[in-house]
Each structure stands twice: as C-alpha cells, then as structure tokens.
Symmetry: C2
C-alpha cells in the first residue's frame, strides 16, 4: 500500500437539481477524492483548510473512513469555503450561484511530515500555486503526481497552471477544458498536445460519455455506466479521480495496462456518487456493491471477437 497525499477543498456545498435541493452539506474536491480512495484502504492524508464553523462530525466521518485528517487546518475564526450551484434539466450543465472562498483565500497547505515521502500525490482542483506548493514540500520525488484542474484556472492563472502541468505525471481534465487548454477540437490531438506540456498520461473526462486515457499512441476508453437517473452529478469527477488514485495506491503498478483498471475503478465509483445528493451514497458504499458493479462494467464493455 502506497501513501497517498490528497490536496483539495473540504467545503460546504448547497446543491439544486431537478430532483430537489439541499442546505449546506459536506462537499469539496478532497472530500470526494478521499471518500472514493478510502474504498481501497489507501493510507491517505487530506491536506486542506476549514473554518471554525465546520462540524466535527464531518471530520469524524473522514477519520472513520481511515483518512488521516492531520493535514486539515482548522482556522477557528474563519468560515469554511462554500459553493452553491444549480443544475439544469439535462444535468450536463450547471450555474454557480455563489462562491465564498473564506478560509481558502489565504490557504497555505502543509503536508504532514510523515507523508512527505508518499508515493502518490493527488492534486485536487485548487489554485495552481497551492498545488505547486504541495509538490515542493515533498522530501522525495513522488512516483506519481496526478493533477485535476478546471477552466477557471485557465482563465485567471494560466501561467501558474502551466508550471504545475509541467511537473505532473497524470492530468485529469474534462473534454471542454482539454479543448480550451490546447485550442484543438479533436480530443486525440488535444491529448497529444497536453502530453507535450508535461504529463505522460492524460485522462479526459466526458461526463455521461465516459473517460479516455491517453499515453503516447495508446488510448483506452471507459464508458460511464448508463443510468436510469442521475440524481446529482456533484463530485463525480473527484470521485473518479479518487478511485483512480486509490486503486493505483493499492496496486503500486503504474503501467498503462494497470491504469486502464484504475480508470474502470474510477468510473465505477463515480457511477455510485451520482445516485444521491452530495457525499451521501459514498458514505455508505460497501465493497460488495463495488464488486457487483464492476461485473456490470465487464458486461457493458467486454466482447468475444477472437482475433489473432
């Protein structure tokens, strides 16, 4: 089992979908990544920050999932990062109704000493300078640094983002963001261009259309499980990343062939995340349920044509 450092937001979300709405509930990239990675009993620490308003029960939830929370700074006099969003009817697009940075505005991440030799660093969506600071704090060069980011940073911190991209092994990014980052419409061409920027592996997330893994001339495609109903897409991308990183932490095999499996695990876990509001489904998810759904993924994708 490799050590896994997760940096990202631990936050409050308020979510509205066509199926209903929530008050402030537990959210944040690092939360979803951690809950997902916990399926693999990864030796994971979350590096993040919350305010004095953050309930102990949320921290306890993470601890009970065997996630080390010693890297979560609590700013007693501050307020926790808050995001409020509303999904449109097609569930593929959403409007941000509120973003309150609060304690995140001055966040200086601190990697706990006993994780500075971690094999894997998962940089959840955050300001590229914060992501870079985590890389720089590592005592030994991690075997695998995975970066998740979004278009927001391309708009307002592109130079800093490029500096981080140069340092990472894997980038996970959605299709429109890959196009924005490269100016290329074809995802094959975009993935090639991103590899030239640094990462040897590029994962392009296409939401309900699945995810693509690129490495040199190799491509692997994992569909999203077709679902009767997507209840709340919040956190699906982070849950995917957490499953991807958690599986690699467990297996310690960073070959392309094993990354295919990591992508399948990521897709599998994301398919649960969207079934209920927020983190609800991931909080109660059992290994036996994951196993059953992996069988569904096999039936969904595997075929029998014999070729020599």
């Amino acid at each position: 089992m490799s050590k896994l450092v997760i940096v990202g937001t631990v936050a409050f979300d308020a979510i509205e979908t066509p199926f209903g709405k929530t008050d402030k509930i537990l959210g944040g990239a690092a939360t979803y990544i951690g809950l997902s990675a916990s399926q693999f009993n990864a030796d994971a620490v979350i590096v993040s920050v919350v305010g004095g308003d953050f309930p102990q029960e949320h921290l306890d939830l993470l601890s009970h999932k065997n996630i080390d929370i010693s890297g979560i700074e609590i700013v007693k006099e501050g307020k926790t990062f808050f995001w409020k969003g509303k999904y449109r009817n097609d569930m593929n697009s959403r409007d941000t109704l509120a973003t309150e940075l609060n304690v995140l505005a001055d966040f200086q991440p601190v990697v706990p000493e006993n994780y500075k030799d971690a094999d894997i660093v998962m940089l959840g969506n955050l300001h590229p300078l914060v992501q870079m600071s985590v890389i720089e704090q590592m005592d030994t060069k991690p075997r695998l640094v995975i970066l998740d980011t979004m278009n927001f940073w391309m708009d307002c911190a592109l130079d800093e983002l490029h500096k981080v991209i140069r340092k990472v092994d894997v980038i996970t990014i959605n299709d429109e963001e890959a196009r924005q980052l490269t100016g290329e419409y074809s995802l094959v061409v975009a993935a090639n261009k991103i590899q030239q920027m640094g990462p040897k592996y590029v994962v392009i997330k296409k939401g309900e259309h699945g995810a693509l893994l690129f490495h040199k001339d190799d491509v692997f495609y994992a569909p999203a499980l077709p679902l009767k109903e997507v209840f709340d897409p919040t956190g699906a991308g982070d849950t995917f990343a957490g499953g991807f990183a958690g599986y690699l932490a467990k297996t310690k095999d960073f070959s392309f062939e094993n990354m295919k499996n990591a992508v399948i695990y990521g897709s599998t876990l994301a398919s649960f995340c969207v079934e209920k509001f927020g983190t609800e489904r991931m909080e109660t998810l059992k290994g036996s349920e994951v196993h059953k759904r992996l069988l569904q993924f096999k039936q969904l994708t595997q075929f029998e044509i014999k070729l020599t």
Copy 2:
C-alpha cells in the same frame, strides 16, 4: 451465410465540411449499408430506385462488391434523389441545403423473388410506408428485421413509423431521436420504452460518443474510435448499420452476446467511413485493415480486472 435484403436510398450527395466540398457524388443509405455489409461477403440485395441520370459506374461499383442490384429500379425519365448538406465546425451538426426527392417521391419497392425468403431485412432510412411494404413482401417471416429511421419521420409520419416499429426486432436510432420518440431524457429509460413499442433490441447511436445496445436489462457499450480527424461524417450511421447487419448475416447467431460483436464491427467500419469524403474510403477498404482496427478496438476497451 444468410440472405440480406437492404432497402434504402441510392442517391447523389453534395457535401461541404470544414475540410472541403464535393460535387454530386455517390451517396444514399442503402449504398453505405451495402458497401459496409459487403465486407462480410453477405448475399445481399439492394432494393431502391434511381433515375436515368445515375451513372452505370456507380451500379458497377456495387456489383463488383458482390451486391445484387436487381432490386434497384431505374426510372429512365426520372432524376436520382439528391441531398446537399453542410457540416458545422464541430462536425456534430449539419444543415441540409437541398433535398430533391425526384424518383423517390413515387418509389414502390419491389423485393426480387429470390430474396423473399431472406433471413435478414435491413430497413434503411426511408418513408415508413416504404419500409412496411418491404416487410409485407417477404414470403417467409425473416429471422431478423432491423430498422433505421430518423426524426424527420417522427415529425411527419409518426403513426406509420409506429406501425413499422411494432414489426421489427432491432431498431437503430440516434440519441436525440430516441429522446424525441419517447419523451425521456435518460437513454436507459428511453430504450426501455422503445422495447415496449416492439423491438427486442435497441441500438442507440451517439456519434463520436459511440453506440449502446439494449436488450431487456442488458446493456453493451461500443465506443467510437477516437480519431485525430473526422473528415466527413456522412454515411457513418448507415455504415454502422451495414456492418451490424452484415456481421449477423455472416454468423447467423442473433444472440445478445453475438450482437455485441456486431456492434463492434459496426463501429469499426464506421470509423473508416468518416476518414474520407462520401463512400471513398469504403470503396477501397480491405479486410486486413478491418482486422487491424478491430485489434485497436480491443485495446481501446478491454481490461484485465479479475473478478469472480
């Protein structure tokens, strides 16, 4: 080898894409279906109509691919169906610039006597009444009737379309059309509703996002091969259908497991179709090239997670 009856347009197309434009070239649903099915040396006949302006060389091309053209009526004093379209920059949407029905307006399909006992009937996109007429001309009930249709008939001949849908075993339809036909956004729910209308198997085509095969509670997903460049999407859906039908005609196994393979063959052949304008790529396509690309499809989709 089963006999295969293909009904659909044989036509002239004029196509404009961001990469260039063509004059009147060979097109039509039955043309693409036939060229694709010919990869399996299917004993196939095309039932269609052309005008006196249709070049003998186009008919010769089909004959040389071992497609029986005795079902193609030539109306000497008439003009061949003509479609002109222009693709937008994303290649996913197109505008129809001209549609001249010509001889298609009064088309009365005639299935040649020696194909009235065919095992498979592939109903390419045409007026539902024409499609129904072909079903009714069969002497023996075909083992498999496959229907392709489009939103145009939902708008202007919905009752007739529903009558045909009730008679078929497999429907191939694109995602937006499945939603329009059922009023359901979820493709899982839409596919269930379509099965209640008649077809036991539903294939939903998602263009660059691949295709889904539904049967009862089973789902299979075939991605589209990620390509550096889509040169011209015209005929891709028909090429998919032709590969699907041709493979089933060759193997005579209509189980869900074998239909998975048929979907993979359909996707594989469609991935060639879009590489050049019109039918150009399909005219010269070799079996060895198909074989090589099937290997790519395996690498693209197959993974190694061991589950019991």
